[in-house]
Amino acid sequence: MHINQISVFLENRTGGLAEVTRLLAANNINLRALSIAETADYGVLRLITDDSERASAALLANGNILSVNPVMAVAVPDKPAGLNELLEILAEGDIAIEYMYSLLTQQNGTAYMVFRISDEDKFVKLLGEHNMKPVCPNELNIK
């Protein structure tokens, strides 16, 4: 049910992001999702790759500072108001989202959103009440 997300500390400077993607490319690791949260001086790069173990090993070997955290992905219909319907449910159910971003797939008609939620039990229960559940990693070809 959980997907492993890798967060990497990045200094805010030209070429910093390319260093990470270069490393992933060299190790033949495919990106599934990516988001960046930043301040003026630094940022947190959040990655979902097809192989989080190999990706984090490569980054650690490169001297990067990272943390691996479980996140959840939820399918939403790829149409207007698709995401809104889900977020309305979460708002109604009083679920606080720490952060979220979208995940790339090649499946027609479905988009996926990655969620970092503090109260996951409540989140999963609420999804179940609406006949939804977090996506399993293998459905997304993620190890």
């Binding site: 200094e11 930043e38 001086d41 630094y42 947190v44 959040r46 001297g63 500072i65 990272l66």
Partner: protein, 432 residues
């Protein structure tokens, strides 16, 4: 014009000054021996007793005091008068968080204010002047010292304290301030503001007394030109009293040390050996009139040169050059003493690695301090708000330790150069 505040002292013969010094030193050593067990122990360890000190020539026999001693003896260990006779505390930052706390009897304050009055009269201050004191008031000695000196010199005193430039300029123009006392960087900032606001014709300043931080001849010329004044240096340290330990006269070629209160020596900072007049070395002061905080042979860590060449102002007091550097790693930022070790203490307390770099710069005539520290796996989180919270608490802890704002910059691991042996912790980009 009244050129001296205490002419009989300021123009006394060298012999007279030496006689005063010897007499007061002998008395002071006895006073310290009887009242300051901490220093008595140091003397005993060196095998010196008050009987060995018969004149200034014997000064070199006494042990040194350093900032480490002040920390060890903190807070009351070096006090030489009963606390019931002490009336004031002033303070400055110390090496690793323990502040330097200095004590004063009323007599000490009287003499300190006399020293400051000498400085104000030396730049032409009289009872017809309006003296704006824009040093900070409070634990910092700048405001209280010059304030007292200004009273004694008979000036109409404006106790502005530091900051609030709008209000500073309003009082300066409305009340016709003729003398201003502040840090040189604040003077440069005020000069810039006066220039920008087109107030040059509305100010009546003729002289400024600027101290508590390093400044160059270039900066002096710049301030003098922009404000149409004469800019004078003043020197002092809380441990010895505060501003007014030495002061510039109208010749502007060094600061006359108030030798009737403070004996100056220049030593080799490595060996502690006293160097002959004219040598460059570390300045050491012995307070010979202080009652509450009578420091003997206190190492200032300031590197400078003393000169007894006759001065055109008529003063016979020895002159010291502007400090040319430090024999320790103390930085003076916005007039505040900052030690890298203080920053290190805070970083370790807050769970950061001791590998850090301090970048000091001067932007728009104001000092800036940036502390660069490496991110660690323990401090990292996928939540940006957790990282920024941590950063904020580090900024707050640094502010609490240093008394000034330091920008914190979190950097990637291994980006701060690790040098063999002594690390280069400080990069000072100020062009003063």
């Amino acid at each position: 014009m009244n050129r001296y505040y205490q002419p009989e002292i300021e123009t006394a013969s060298q012999e007279q000054i030496r006689a005063w010094q010897s007499e007061r030193l002998v008395k002071q050593v006895k006073h310290v021996w009887d009242n300051v067990p901490y220093y008595r122990k140091k003397m005993e360890e060196k095998g010196v007793t008050p009987d060995d000190i018969k004149s200034v020539d014997d000064l070199h026999k006494l042990p040194f005091l350093t900032k480490d001693d002040l920390r060890e003896a903190y807070p009351y260990g070096l006090v030489g008068a009963p606390l019931k006779d002490c009336v004031r505390i002033q303070s400055t930052s110390g090496t690793t968080g323990k502040r330097v706390v200095a004590f004063y009897t009323q007599h000490d304050i009287d003499l300190w204010e006399d020293c400051c009055a000498r400085a104000i009269v030396a730049v032409g201050g009289t009872n017809e002047d309006v003296c704006q004191v824009s040093y900070g008031y409070g634990l910092f000695t700048g405001g209280p010292g010059l304030n007292g000196g200004s009273h004694r010199a008979g000036c109409l005193t404006l106790p502005m304290s530091s900051g609030n430039t709008d209000r500073q300029l309003q009082f300066m123009t409305d009340l016709g301030a003729t003398i201003i006392c502040c840090t040189p960087s604040y003077a440069a900032y005020l000069a810039e503001s006066i220039h920008e606001r087109g107030l040059r014709d509305k100010i009546k300043l003729k002289a400024g007394i600027f101290g508590a931080e390093a400044w160059s001849e270039n900066m002096r010329h710049d301030i003098e030109e922009k404000l149409g004044i004469k800019a004078y240096d003043i020197y002092g340290l809380t441990e010895i009293s505060g501003p007014g330990v030495s002061f510039e006269c109208q010749e502007q070629t060094g600061m006359h040390i108030n030798e009737d209160h403070f004996i100056a020596e220049i030593i080799d900072p490595e060996t502690g050996e006293v160097l002959p007049e004219g040598s460059k070395g570390e300045l050491v002061f012995t307070s010979i009139t202080k009652e509450a905080f009578p420091l003997l042979r206190y190492r200032t860590r300031d590197i400078c040169v003393l000169s007894r060449k006759p001065c055109s102002c008529g003063r016979t007091l020895v002159k010291m050059s502007k400090p040319m550097g430090r024999s320790d790693d103390m930085l003076i930022i916005k007039g505040v003493n900052v030690f890298p070790s203080q920053i290190e203490t805070v970083l370790l307390e807050q769970g950061y690695p001791a590998n850090y770099q301090i970048i000091v710069d001067r932007v728009n005539n104001s000092d800036t301090l940036e502390v660069q520290v490496e991110m660690t796996p323990e401090n990292f989180s996928d939540s940006l708000s957790k990282i920024t919270e941590m950063e904020k608490s580090l900024v707050a802890a640094l502010k609490a330790m240093l008394g000034i704002y330091a920008k914190v910059k979190l950097v990637a691991p291994k980006t701060i150069a690790r040098s063999e042996g002594k690390a280069v912790r400080v990069i000072d980009n100020r062009k003063i």
